[in-house]
Symmetry: C2
Subunit: 583 residues, 2 copies
Amino acid sequence: MELKILNKINEPKDLKNLTVEDMKKLAGEIREVLLEKVSQDGGHLGPNLGMVEATIAMHYTFNSPIDKFVFDVSHQTYTHKILTGRKEAFINPEKYDTVTGFTNPKESEHDFFTIGHTSTGVSLASGLAKGRDILGGEENILAVVGDGSLSGGEAYEGLDNAAISKSNIIILVNDNDIAITENAGGLYENLALLRETEGKAENNIFKALGFDYYFVKDGNDIKSMIDIFEKVKDVNHPVLIHMYTLKGKGYEPAVENEEKFHWTRPFDLETGEVLGKLPESYLDIIDNFLIEKAKNDKKIVAITAATPSTVGLNKFRKVLKNQYINVGIAEEHAVAFASGIAKRKAKPVASFFSSFIQRCYDQLSQDLAINDNPATILVCGGGISGNAETHLSVFDIPLISNIPNIVYLAPTSQEELEAMMDWAIDQEKYPVIIRIPTGKVVSTGVKIKSNFYDLNKFVLDKKGEKIAIIGLGTFYSLGETVREKLIEKGFNPTLINPRFISGIDGELLEELMKNHELVITLEDGILDGGFGGKIARYYSDKPMKVLNFGAQKVFTDNVPLEELYKRYELMPEQIVEKIEKEL
Amino acid sequence: MELKILNKINEPKDLKNLTVEDMKKLAGEIREVLLEKVSQDGGHLGPNLGMVEATIAMHYTFNSPIDKFVFDVSHQTYTHKILTGRKEAFINPEKYDTVTGFTNPKESEHDFFTIGHTSTGVSLASGLAKGRDILGGEENILAVVGDGSLSGGEAYEGLDNAAISKSNIIILVNDNDIAITENAGGLYENLALLRETEGKAENNIFKALGFDYYFVKDGNDIKSMIDIFEKVKDVNHPVLIHMYTLKGKGYEPAVENEEKFHWTRPFDLETGEVLGKLPESYLDIIDNFLIEKAKNDKKIVAITAATPSTVGLNKFRKVLKNQYINVGIAEEHAVAFASGIAKRKAKPVASFFSSFIQRCYDQLSQDLAINDNPATILVCGGGISGNAETHLSVFDIPLISNIPNIVYLAPTSQEELEAMMDWAIDQEKYPVIIRIPTGKVVSTGVKIKSNFYDLNKFVLDKKGEKIAIIGLGTFYSLGETVREKLIEKGFNPTLINPRFISGIDGELLEELMKNHELVITLEDGILDGGFGGKIARYYSDKPMKVLNFGAQKVFTDNVPLEELYKRYELMPEQIVEKIEKEL
């Protein structure tokens, strides 16, 4: 790779003397760099390829960090990072890990927020603008939003408020005609109409909200972008620029398969084939099970908020199109919608990624739980992970299990998961949420026929004495390992599968007191507000010691899983050591 | 009151043979009934007076409960209740309490959901419509939304999805030119434009979303409403009717002061004066304190999501208009907006009613906590109450205190509240949330000068032995009462004010082990996921008994406060009895 121009760019001001032709060449060099890095290291490819020119034009025209850019979701900021002193992290493979995949104020003064969830950018930018006005600043505030985020309620609340502000705020809508998956909703039909008419259609949601609206038909043309930015720079009122860009631009496989390359694992640059094959996961289990069940029961409908492949609906959506609904990035709607479907006696199954279900606590409580409608909700990916701090999935247990009326279940194996889904979908009594296990699929090979009407009934799997291990969901197998190690040391521990996260089995816990002196709980989530705390509270005035194992209440950012396990003292040896100390 | 027509109406079908003239008379009778009841018993007056005619027309034209009505917020459903077999609860003072203030499926087959939070109606109705389509039903689904709800993100997500559905759904937008307070946002400017042009303006947000749009200029005219309903009944696609109604219609004081009569305590029908005067509350403390502080610091800005008078900004908004922002019903935006303002180094104070802060968990976590911006958030009304099940405020402790980085504080007196607000607003280190006490104001008369940088430092107020009482926030005074009762019985209990909800003081808890054998915790919220559980976990393997007192994880509906205290064993005698049993 020869990076003639990029080699000379170390900060935004180095752009200022380039010609448009130079900047076009720079865009080409950046694309090469992005393709090289993402093909080797994985990451968000399509969104970044689409934003190269607009980002160059932003930094050419405006004066960052005095002028402030807020990138919604911030998964499209690789070019921004390259232009703001962080190019080594993209050019030099040894430094690939020195930047995160999102904006990050700890990395650079050009980043203002850590952002990873969608639809927040306009509100955050509005805050910067208001702060500027209060303090008498004069800089431009520019929010980049799009790529599916516009369907989220927070984006609308932000636009609705930004539109009536009386000072400078520039909203750049990056319309690439695609979210993570196909777009859904009237808004996207309006965007299509505006694209067709080059912004001239009478029906225009942005004008209706009150924005001074501009359309740019080719957001991948640097000159067009510089022109529009020069025009709106230093405006004294809210402005919205609607630009059309090509997601994946410059890499044919990413243009042809926008979804596959929205975020990708490492791939062969030549063929576009992703390297390595993922082993079967619990997402496959969900997918296969739901397809089989829904084929035979047309009352079943599967719902996703724009992320079918991370919530076990990847095959379902192709095989059973008529029983599949993608509501777009709109988690709040998804939950209320499912509640309404269940009320009308059909069978909704709405599946979410754990970190994103955080967006609809109030809907789970008000629209679903108070109304006690028997919808089935799946929570995928829950548990400790090496994810970015914006995508942690360790908070769902405190969030969900403390809502009245909701039955929150934690299966420990493929068969138990299938039995729980089967029951949840057919029963008509409770809102049921299932925490899908993560990691390697555990299969016992023995079909489970039980139902789960007998709420909060724990299962005593191995009857022992002195020590009782309660292993929740994914951590049941950790419980098995710990038990084996304790057996080696001459103990005979009891092992319990609690199955229910949202309540405890007082009878069984009482029974344990007869011949146990220590109960340990294992949960794959934070301890504060969690499952183990309920056990600790149960025994708090009784002669039983309790040790809770789980994650700490902290945001961790791309810390490897094994390191987190060690830090949280969740390695089997660490657990055994702590147990021995207690006895 | 002579109720010539209403006397003959016991169910919707009794309307079918009335003439329009009769229905107008019926509307007059219903208004009289509403005014009589609400003036005596309190309730939502303005929204109900505005919806009388439209509701009569709905029941005249459609066939409830086969055709299904979903009322957003459902505080405008008194006429609906009167027409669906529940008129006695409005006419007969002895039966006033036999219905709730919201729709309630337990009361009537004409009600489909328990709803009390705004902006959910379109999504819930979309679910009913989808369920109908799956099961091959043919009924009409009609959602009534408006009165400020349209600014909420969930309403937009619902509209965005409803607009592209391929079958019958009728959205009735009740545009009364007012939310609870003044409207805010570009949407409301668009509604005003549409009213002025009788729906003909080019800029039309509903058409932009794809709806088949109809405008009714007088939604209080029964004939107009019947005409439009006849026209859209049984349509095969999404339709949106935008009607203009007069909030408070028929009662001059309610028209003139729409906010005062949105919800009102009992009042003098003649003069419109509210009966009785409320004692000084913690909301007054907030209001007065913020006004004084903000007068001297122009960097301070107070933010509400449309409910200034229930969050301590009633005077503030009038006295310091330039430092006051009402973002409309848009809690998600409010939190992200505050985070952005704090990032830009101004000083936002965003105040919420506890039950409504549930709408922005993800924004508290992602937009605020991960970014660690020093915004101040106030949570008002938190604690056990006799409220409707949709307005309980017992869930904020599990919700907020288990988010990393957030400092959640619980003041026990006026002076401590003031010290906490003072510190929170000026410090630049943490996102701080303060749980405003409820009930009678406790004033020590002694100004507190301390800061709260020393996180999770509990205060040992009375040093005793054997029993330690940890009384959180509002329940600190309950702790004092319990302590006195124990002293009478010859004990000498320790009393602790923890101040921090989001963490524990390990050092102090360790110290207690020297000469205590029982720690009791008192918190005004649910125990599951709460504060006491953290204490129980701390001592779970140590020789200390712990008893947690607080609310159970259940939805309670208009249960009197004292009954709840008894049920949760929170009466001082009950607590003392349980303590004695332990020793």
